[in-house]
Symmetry: C2
Subunit: 123 residues, 2 copies
Amino acid sequence: MSTDGVDLAFDEAGLLPAIAQDADTGEVLMLAHVDAEAVERTVETGDAHYYSRSRDELWRKGETSGHVQRVEEVRVDCDGDALLYLVDQAGGACHTGYRSCFHRTLDGEVVGEQVFDPDAVYG
Amino acid sequence: MSTDGVDLAFDEAGLLPAIAQDADTGEVLMLAHVDAEAVERTVETGDAHYYSRSRDELWRKGETSGHVQRVEEVRVDCDGDALLYLVDQAGGACHTGYRSCFHRTLDGEVVGEQVFDPDAVYG
């Protein structure tokens, strides 16, 4: 896939990792994967789209939960094999109710903020 | 691999993506991959280690360039299949001389800061 300026180097499965970062606070919210269609839909709609490897389908973030990500900018890394979405995150990015999926240290200490009750959203 | 608290879900190749983020500014610097040994060495030494898929070897960031990453904290995402290194980055993270590998938009506009001359470092 080529955009105006940057060629993307999708892997053999046609995917790339994409990081979502809060455009205001800089908090890293999640990492997911995208295929070419997800990138196109993200650019076209301004809503973050990903590719769900477990469900094998295009996925608009927040479709179920309402916790959409409005994408202010998409950045590409030097090798064209990773993306960075700078987003305005509604609610929380994590299905566990935390603002960020990266809410634990490697030792298991919880350092992030829980911002919604997942049972109320997904239950 | 299990640490004290969090089980890591390495993929079939024994790898996980790891994001390096500047611990002070919040800038996302790079995305690379780690195997279990890279995580262990990172925790033991406090220097960011990755696994180079192209060279098929453990890789201490900055070994050639001197642009090491001191790791202040390692975070794990909700599924245990991605890591976030919060780092103190010496020099620049990107081999092209930019502070961050994510120094371009999808349209090819350069938005990042070049902090060193790659020819002088790697030449």
